[in-house]
Each structure stands twice: as C-alpha cells, then as structure tokens.
C-alpha cells in the first residue's frame, strides 16, 4: 500500500543495511584473486574523462579491469557513506572529499595510502601541494586519500563591464571594496546584478562561501575548546554583510542560487562578479557555454582580517579497509593521481581538462600554462595560501576551511544555512537565524566538550 511508502523505504533501507552488514564479511570482493576492481566516483567532468581513458591505457598496461559507478554528488555521499559505514565492502576505491577524510579515518574505515605513494618512485609524493596533503591526512599525520583535483575560491568578474564603468578590481580585494564595486556595477546592463553569491541552503552550497567570509571577518563555528560561536559578534557581522550584499546587489532568485545558478548568471551576463570555486574558471572560459569567455577577470578571494580567505577542497581517491584488492586498487589510485595521467589528459582531451590543483608541477607544464593562462596562477597561489589548519584569526578544533570536520556538520551546516537562506529571502532576520543556529551548534558541541 502506498500510504506506508516512506516508512517502507526507511524500513527497506534499514533491512538492506542489516542484510549487507551481515553478509559483508563473506561476500565482499566479488573478484577474489582476479584483477578487477570496483570504483565509485562522483559524476564531475574530470571523473567522466578518466572513465573514458582507463580501458585503453591503464587496463591495457596492467591488465586490471576497472568497473566504474558514477553518481551525482549527493547520491554519491549517501551511497559511499552507507557502503563504508556498514562495512559492505562493495567498492575497492571511492572518491571522497576533504571533509570526509579526517572523520572516516578516525572511524578506522580507510586504508593508509602514504606508504603506497612512497613505494612508487614515479609518483613523486613531494610534488603534491602541501594544503592538499594536509587536508587529506588523518590526525596521525599519515595520508589517507590521494588527491585527484583540488580547488580554492576566488573572485571572478566580467572585465568588459568593469571597463565600461571605469572600475578596477584589485588583485587582492577586501570585502568592502567588493561591496562598493557591486553597488557601482549593479544594473550596468539591463537585468545585470552587481554580484552573484550562493544563497541555496546546504552545508556545501551557501555554507562554503559563507564560512570563508565568516573566517575572514574573524568568526568561527567553534572555538578550539568547542564553544559554539554561531551568534558571536564576528559571525553575525559577517553574515549580515553577506546577506545584505546579496539582498541589495545580488542575483535574482538568490535563495535558490547555488554553484550552477551563479555560473549561469556570470556567464550569461546576469551578474558582473561572482565569488566561488576556482574550478569554475574552466567553464567560464568555454565559448560553447559562456558568453564572456576570454573576457573574465580573476582576483583573489576577498579578505577582511585575514591575509587570504580562499577555501580548500579536494576530490580524492580513498580505499575502504574492506577491500580485498588493495594492490590493484592502489595501482589504479596512484596512476589516476600521477603526472603521467595529467599528461595523458592534456594530450588526448586538451590541456584545459587536466585535473589540476593538486601538483606543483602541473603549473610548470607549458601547454597547461597556455590553456589556463588567465586563472592558473591565481588558482595555484590560492591553494598554496590556504591554511586548512588555521583559516581564521583563532585556533580551531578541526582541520578544514569552509566546513567543520565533524560528522554532525552536514546536518548543522544544512539547518543553519536554511535559516540564513530564509534571511536572504527576507523571511527571517539574520539575528534570529543565528540565535537558532547557536542552539543547534551548542547541542553539537556538547558531544565534544570534555
């Protein structure tokens, strides 16, 4: 009967979990000694590229067959979390982000990978960017995931509009400068807004840029000894600034706008500036989808009190402890994160599609420098400047810039950003949103206070 559908879904999911939990021990790796591995990964363009290239190169060279499962980000998280948390052991390799690594490492779910990387002489572990290594390491200092590509955040703008209005965007702007520019260029063209900032609720949507703004305004979610700070003056000031900027000069439909919507807004000339991930540059410079390709200016993430404020994110390869094909899986991961693979993508698919942002050497390749001329340098420097252990003005209890690396943050971040999104919509006040958020954060903090 359909009336019981949701309970049944919950129930069915639960029984499935129980069943897999029981069978996990015996029925894990389907392929025993044969050379075949199962890889679960997020459906980003760089991952689709590797799915295309693997058979003709990696499998041909090593004889290891790779079965890819590709899912959108949210579904991937649901699936990979359940697979690993219940020890189902269906996958030998999974892409996870910088947020998951420390949490899952603490739970003992992941294989240590640093030793594999050290043994592979061609891999050149020392070439990996330091912030990447740091954010993919456990609290024991060992590497638990190999980066596939990395990103920071920066300000992107329409150069033509700035020129027409006689505005110069500084290379290292402050947030106040950006707010002033947004006011000046608002309406520069019919229907064009001054700036696009994410307003869509979600810890990984609005939560990411907002937290980086909070950091540079001197705020934090938690102090080092786990005191919640969500309604502290600095957090409030930052959030008020963000919300006011979006309300006054931000994109139409801001409470529903996430990464994709802002990408459209800037590339379709509906916004003059956009603060977001460095990985957006590739799409902005693609003439097939962007009306401003070749006319995009780039600046570092705006700051207030800190020297830099770019965030840091990595999609990385991790190996669940349950795998029975550790050797084959590690070979695949080392290959996918290698210089050799970057060169392969450059040669076969074009240099702008290289999964960049993880190795210093990528930015020394002449072909890549040419393809990423306008944004490559800022991307690299933003990543290098990012300090995931110390992103604000005070010490933090966890490593991570635009998130708090505790399991509860997915829920906490989602609920607090829901309220802030409502403030952007004018349905509630920032103060009310943050006071409510503080209560939620205090509940979470209780789990950690000693």
């Amino acid at each position: 009967m359909r009336s019981t559908r949701y309970a049944l879904i919950a129930g069915a999911a639960a029984t499935a979990l129980l069943a897999t939990a029981c069978s996990g021990a015996g029925a894990g790796g389907s392929s025993g000694g044969s050379k075949s591995i199962n890889v679960l990964m997020v459906g980003n363009p760089q991952m689709e590229d590797i799915a295309k290239l693997t058979k003709s190169t990696f499998t041909k060279d090593t004889g290891i067959k790779v079965n890819f499962t590709v899912l959108p980000e949210n579904e991937l998280r649901d699936k990979v979390t359940q697979d690993i948390a219940t020890q189902a052991g269906q996958y030998d390799v999974a892409t996870i982000g910088a947020y998951e690594v420390p949490i899952w490492t603490k739970n003992g779910w992941l294989h240590e990978l640093g030793s594999y990387a050290d043994k592979d002489t061609g891999f050149d572990k020392a070439d990996l960017l330091k912030p990447m290594v740091q954010s993919l390491s456990g609290s024991d200092g060992k590497l638990y995931a190999l980066p596939f590509y990395g990103e920071s955040s920066m300000l992107m703008y329409n150069k033509d509009v700035m020129a027409a209005k006689g505005v110069t965007v500084p290379e290292h702007p402050t947030w106040q400068q950006i707010a002033d520019i947004a006011a000046r260029v608002d309406g520069a063209e019919p229907g064009m807004k001054g700036i696009c900032l994410r307003g869509l609720a979600g810890w990984g949507e609005l939560g990411a840029p907002l937290t980086s703004v909070v950091n540079t305004f001197g705020g934090t979610w938690f102090t080092k000894d786990w005191k919640a700070q969500v309604n502290s003056p600095a957090f409030k000031k930052a959030t008020n600034f963000y919300v006011n900027l979006v309300r006054q000069h931000g994109e139409a439909g801001a409470p529903q706008a996430g990464f994709t919507e802002c990408l459209n807004a800037l590339s379709q000339k509906k916004a003059a500036m956009w603060y977001d991930a460095t990985s957006a540059a590739g799409s902005l410079e693609d003439p097939a989808s962007s009306k401003i390709a070749g006319h995009v200016g780039y600046a570092y993430a705006p700051t207030v009190q800190t020297k830099s404020s770019g965030w840091l994110w990595a999609w990385a390869w991790a190996m669940p402890k349950t795998t029975k094909n550790a050797d084959a899986a590690s070979k695949f991961m080392l290959w996918a994160s290698s210089k050799k693979y970057e060169n392969l993508v450059g040669a076969k698919l074009g240099w702008s599609r290289v999964p960049a942002g993880k190795r210093a050497s990528t930015y020394a390749i002449p072909q890549y420098q040419k393809a990423a001329g306008s944004f490559g340098d800022i991307t690299l420097k933003s990543i290098e400047q990012a300090d995931p252990a110390n992103p604000g003005v005070q010490p933090r209890p966890t490593v991570g810039i635009q998130y708090v690396a505790i399991p509860e943050f997915q829920d906490l971040g989602t609920k607090v950003t829901q309220e802030i999104s409502a403030a952007i919509a004018g349905k509630t006040s920032v103060d009310k949103a943050l006071d409510d958020g503080q209560k939620l954060a205090e509940d979470v903090a209780k789990n950690y206070q000693k």
Binding site: S3, A10, L18, P190, A201, K270, D411, S421, A433
Partner: protein, 319 residues
C-alpha cells in the same frame, strides 16, 4: 425535495453445502501460501525492522555508539521544534492542495459533463498533468514558470508592463517570496485532473430522470446543483479528498525540487524532514521513529478512505 428510499436489501445467497471443511480449505490455500509468506516478508518485515531501529540511537557516522534507547526517539519526534513545524507544514500543504484541486476539479468535471465538440480531446488534455512525472512537473514549475530571470510568470508581467509603456516589470522571486503557494500551485496543477476524473465519474453516474424531474419542477440550475448534484457527489468528493490526502501527505518531489524545504523550514514537510534526518544527519533511529509516526497517521486516514470506498460500493449495489 427528493426523498430516495433505499430498496430492500437483497437476500444473502443460499449457503452452499460444505464438505469436510478443514482439509478442503487448506488444500485450496496451500498453493497460495508461498505468495502470502512472500508478501508478509516484503511488506511487514521491513516495518518490524523499522520499529526495532526506532528504539535505537544509531548514527552510522559514529560506529560503536549504537545502543538501545527505548522510546527516546519518539519523545524526540514529538518534542522537536523542526518536526512540529514539519507536521504543521504537511497539514497546510495537504489541506490546501486537496481543497483547491477538488474545487477546480469539480468545475472542470461540470464543464466536461456537457456535450460539446472536441470533448474527448479536451478531456485528454486536462488529464495530461496527472500523467507527468512528479519530478518533471516540479522542474517545469521551478524553471519554466517561477524562475525570476527567464520564467513565464515574470515574462508575462514584464510584457504587460511594457504594454503600458514601462521599461520593465518588477522582478518577483516567486519561490522565495511565496514558497508555500509555489509548491501548492504545482501540486494543484498535478492533482486537479485526478479529482476531475473521480468527480466526472460521479456526475455521469447521476440518474438523468432525477435531473429532468427537477427541471420540470422549475428548479434553477443553481438549486439543482445545490440540492441534487452536490448531495449525490458527496461520497465521490469524500473519496477524492481521502485518496488525495493519502498521496499528498507523502509529497517529496515538489518540495525537494522547488524549494528544498526552504526558505528556512517554511516548506519542509514530514517526508522531506525524514529524508534530511536519514541522509544529512544519518540518525537512523530518529528517522525510523518519525517514519513510524507518519505510518500511524496514514493508517488513520487510509481507514477513513477505505470506509468511504466501501460505502460507495454499498450504494452502487443498492441502486
């Protein structure tokens, strides 16, 4: 006034002579048993599992901390402010969608009940929204209608403003300014055809002689509708309301797609809140407890629905 007296009930069929009741009964039942067991296994065991899980504190991101907590999760469900908001939103959403779609459906059914050229085509077109997949319909509303940049609503507004010489109309952010109406409207669009179908069936089952008699007696169209058609339709309306309620209480697609439960938690209904508990919080115990509460609520509504259907059949049979 019409006074319809129920015809005498038909006598029960004569009892068949029974031969060796026990064994024959079981012989007939044995081939069906595997199906029965299978049905019980796939429908009831998961529910039992849900009941069990609802008594545990179980967050899958914290292995080793799972333990029995009795009814704590239910206490949480009934005291949590967000869940209370979700219950309230579910009621508002369901009631307004059902009410509006019944009224609209009734109007359309009355129109379709008349003969006109192209009636078949009109009926097909009117049913079409019900056949669109819920997610597709929600996406259609979110992007094609509500989008402040390229949506149809603002486009129309702007065109009208321009007709009167203004440069541009106001840019209304429909989803953020009117979140609940935005979700309700898309659901009404989907569910009106369903109500229309049920009510049309009711209208067409209306005895022609009664209507003719009313006309002969000089009753106005309005009076005929109020005193004859509406009472006749009562059970069909009840059926539509109850079936609609059962389905719309579970609305997930529209909320997830159009508003993501926002702004804030203004459109977060129970299914969406349970989804968040399950896949953002990973608190399986709480999600299971909330699921159990929803099922109990749904069973209550479903019981009423079944009773209405039963009474409809009784009336049909007695005609």
């Amino acid at each position: 006034m019409t006074t319809l007296t129920a015809p005498p009930k038909t006598a029960p069929p004569p009892a068949r002579p029974r031969k060796s009741p026990g064994t024959a009964k079981w012989k007939r039942r044995i081939p069906l048993l595997p199906a029965l067991i299978f049905t019980i296994a796939v429908t009831q065991l998961p529910f039992v599992a849900t009941l069990v899980i609802s008594t545990f504190q179980w967050n899958i991101l914290k292995p080793g901390e799972r333990h029995f907590v009795g009814l704590d999760n239910f206490t949480f469900v009934f005291t949590d402010e967000r869940l209370r908001t979700a219950v309230l939103n579910t009621i508002v959403l369901t009631a307004s969608v059902v009410l509006l779609s019944v009224v609209l459906g009734l109007g359309l059914a009355m129109l379709l009940d008349r003969r006109f050229t192209g009636r078949g085509l009109a009926r097909t077109l009117l049913i079409a929204p019900f056949l669109v997949m819920p997610v597709a319909a929600a996406l259609l509303f979110k992007h094609a209608l509500y989008n402040p940049d390229y949506g149809l609503l603002n486009g129309t507004l702007n065109t009208v403003y321009r007709l009167f010489g203004a440069d541009n109309g106001p840019t209304v952010d429909w989803i953020s300014s009117y979140p609940m109406p935005a979700v309700v409207l898309s659901l009404v669009w989907q569910w009106t055809p369903f109500m229309m179908l049920i009510l049309l069936a009711g209208l067409q089952a209306q005895p022609g002689d009664v209507l003719e008699a009313a006309r002969m007696d000089g009753a106005s169209a309005m009076a005929t509708f109020r005193h004859i058609t509406l009472p006749h339709l009562r059970q069909y309306i009840e059926l539509g309301v109850l079936l609609g309620t059962i389905y719309i209480v579970q609305t997930f697609d529209a909320v997830y797609t159009i508003t993501q439960g926002g702004p804030g938690s203004q459109t977060t209904n129970l299914p969406y809140e349970i989804y968040l508990t399950m896949f953002r919080k990973y608190e399986y115990g709480q999600a299971a407890a909330a699921g159990v509460v929803v099922v109990l609520g749904a069973i209550v509504i479903a019981t009423f629905a079944l009773r209405t259907i039963a009474s409809l059949f009784r009336e049909e049979a007695s005609r």
